[in-house]
C-alpha cells in the first residue's frame, strides 16, 4: 500500500515510524484512518466516542510499532488492535459484548413477522443510510457480532476468540442480528412509503 500523495510505501513508513519520524506516523494514520474509525463508529454508534476509540487504537499501535515484525499484514494487526480497544471499552461500560440469550425487547421493537408473506422481500438494493440506522438500533451484543462479521469480514472462529464466546454462539448472534435488521429495514421502508 502506498500513500499516493507522497510515493512512500507502507513498509517504508513503518520503518521510519519505528525511528520516531512523525511524518511516517502521519502517513500510516491517513492510510488506515477510515477503516479504523468506521469500525469504531459501527460498534458504538457515537461519533465522538468513535473518534476517542480510533485515537486510542492508533496510539496503542504507534506505541507498539517497534514490535511489529511483519509476520502478518500491518492492516490485520491494526484491525485486531482496534477491535480489542472497542471491546475493552464496551466491557468497561458494562455493556454486553455478546448476548448469551435473547435480549429484552425494546420499546420501539418491531414485531417479528409483521411483514410476513404479504411483503416477503427487500427488493432491489438497501438504502445505505437506512442500513446504518438499522445497525445503530441493534442491541449491543448483536451489533458487535454483526459488525465484526458482515461489515469487517472477520470469521466466526476469530470473533469467538476476540469476544470470548463459542463459534456456535457467534453464528447464532449473527443470524439473529440479520433477522432484526431485516425487520427494521422493512419497517423503515414501509414508513417511508407512507410519508411519501
Amino acid at each position: 500500500m502506498t500513500d499516493p500523495k507522497q510515493g512512500i510505501t507502507e513498509a517504508e513508513a513503518i520503518e521510519q515510524a519505528k525511528q520516531g519520524h512523525e511524518a511516517a506516523f502521519e502517513v500510516l494514520y491517513h492510510l488506515h484512518k477510515r477503516r479504523v474509525y468506521s469500525l469504531c463508529l459501527r460498534m458504538v454508534s457515537n461519533p465522538a466516542q468513535a473518534e476517542d476509540l480510533a485515537q486510542e487504537a492508533f496510539l496503542q499501535l504507534f506505541r507498539k510499532i517497534g514490535t511489529f515484525r511483519g509476520e502478518s499484514a500491518f492492516s490485520t494487526w491494526l484491525h485486531r488492535m482496534t477491535v480489542n480497544v472497542v471491546l475493552m471499552q464496551l466491557r468497561k461500560k458494562g455493556l454486553p459484548v455478546v448476548s448469551l440469550e435473547e435480549t429484552l425487547e425494546s420499546d420501539d421493537e418491531v414485531p417479528r413477522k409483521e411483514f410476513g408473506t404479504q411483503d416477503v422481500k427487500l427488493t432491489g438494493s438497501i438504502d445505505r443510510l437506512q442500513l446504518q440506522r438499522a445497525i445503530d438500533k441493534l442491541p449491543p451484543g448483536y451489533r458487535t457480532v454483526f459488525v465484526l462479521h458482515d461489515v469487517e469480514g472477520f470469521e466466526h472462529n476469530e470473533i469467538a476468540e476476540m469476544v470470548g464466546c463459542s463459534i456456535g454462539n457467534s453464528k447464532s448472534q449473527l443470524h439473529k442480528a440479520r433477522l432484526k435488521l431485516r425487520d427494521y429495514l422493512k419497517f423503515m421502508r414501509a414508513e417511508k412509503a407512507k410519508t411519501g
Binding site: 484512518k33 416477503v120 445505505r128
Partner: protein, 264 residues
C-alpha cells in the same frame, strides 16, 4: 423440509465461509416457498450490502492532531524524516531542513496560548460577543457531534439566530442557489482572521509545501469553532457544548503549536 426447519439451519448455511452442502430438501423447499425464498434472499442482501460500510466514514482532523500531540508528549516522535522535496506535496511530511537563517515565529506560541485561554473563558463564562463575528451569514448547521439533544440536520430559524440584523438581511436576500442546505458547509469560507492570515503567511514563507495542508486543517477547525460557537450562543447553559467548543479551540492551538515546532 418445513419453514421452521429451514430457519433452524440458516445460521450455518448463510455463513459465506461454510462449505457445508445444503441438507436434502432445502433448496427444493426454498424454491417453492415465497416466504423462505424471501428470507434467504433478504439475509444474503443484508450481508452483502453491509460490506460496503467498512471504511466508509472519515474522522475529523482533530483526531490526528490529538494523536500527534500525545506522541510528542510521550517522546515517541524524534524528528521528521528528511528527504529531497519533489513536487510540492499537499501533506506536511518529509520536509527538508535547509541551512541558512531560521525564521523566527515566536509569536505563534503566545497566539496558541491565547487560543487556549479563549477556550477556557468560553467554558467558564457566557460566550464573549466578539466571537460571534465568526458566525457565517448563512443558515447554520448544528453538527451531529454536538450533544444529542440537538436533532439531526437541525437548522436555525431566522428569528432565533443571534447574528446581527445586516447578516440576517443578507441571508434572506441570498439567491436560492446560494443558500446552503442543512447538511452542507458555507460554499465560501469566511475570510481568515488576522492571526490566521499571519500564521499562513509565515508557513508560506518558511515551509511553502505545507501551506495547503495547514490551510485546509485551519479551515476545518475554524468551521468547527464557528458551528459550535453558534450552538453555544443559542444554548449558553449547555456545558457539553461549551466543552466541545473548548476542545475545538485546543485543536486550533495544537495546530499552531505543531507549525511552530516544525518551522523553528
Amino acid at each position: 423440509m418445513t419453514c421452521s426447519e429451514v430457519e433452524r439451519v440458516l445460521p450455518e448455511l448463510l455463513d459465506d465461509a461454510s462449505e457445508r452442502a445444503f441438507p436434502a430438501g432445502f433448496e427444493t423447499h426454498v424454491k417453492s416457498c415465497p416466504a423462505c425464498s424471501g428470507l434467504v434472499s433478504d439475509l444474503r442482501l443484508i450481508a452483502s450490502e453491509s460490506r460496503q460500510l467498512a471504511a466508509s466514514e472519515e474522522p475529523s482532523p482533530r483526531v490526528w492532531l490529538r494523536i500527534a500531540a500525545e506522541l510528542r508528549a510521550e517522546g515517541l516522535i524524534s524528528e521528521p524524516a528528511i528527504r529531497e522535496p519533489q513536487s510540492a506535496p499537499s501533506r506536511p511530511i518529509l520536509i527538508s531542513t535547509s541551512p541558512g537563517r531560521r525564521w523566527s515565529a515566536w509569536w505563534l506560541a503566545p497566539v496558541a496560548a491565547a487560543l487556549l485561554a479563549a477556550g477556557a473563558y468560553v467554558v467558564s463564562h457566557k460566550p464573549a460577543p466578539q466571537v460571534a463575528k465568526q458566525t457565517p451569514a448563512v443558515p447554520v448547521t448544528v453538527p451531529v457531534r454536538v450533544p444529542s439533544a440537538v436533532p439531526e440536520n437541525a437548522t436555525v430559524s431566522p428569528d432565533r439566530v443571534t447574528t446581527p440584523a445586516p447578516q440576517q438581511l443578507a441571508r434572506k436576500a441570498a439567491k436560492p442557489e446560494d443558500r446552503v442546505g442543512p447538511a452542507a458547509r458555507p460554499a465560501v469560507e469566511p475570510e481568515p482572521s488576522a492571526e490566521d492570515q499571519q500564521f499562513l503567511s509565515v508557513v508560506s514563507t518558511r515551509a511553502p509545501s505545507m501551506r495547503a495542508t495547514y490551510e485546509s486543517e485551519l479551515q476545518a477547525v475554524n468551521a468547527d469553532i464557528r458551528e459550535t460557537q453558534a450552538y453555544v450562543n443559542r444554548h449558553p447553559g449547555d456545558a457539553d457544548a461549551r466543552q466541545h467548543l473548548m476542545d475545538a479551540y485546543q485543536q486550533k492551538a495544537l495546530l499552531y503549536q505543531m507549525a511552530l515546532d516544525r518551522i523553528q
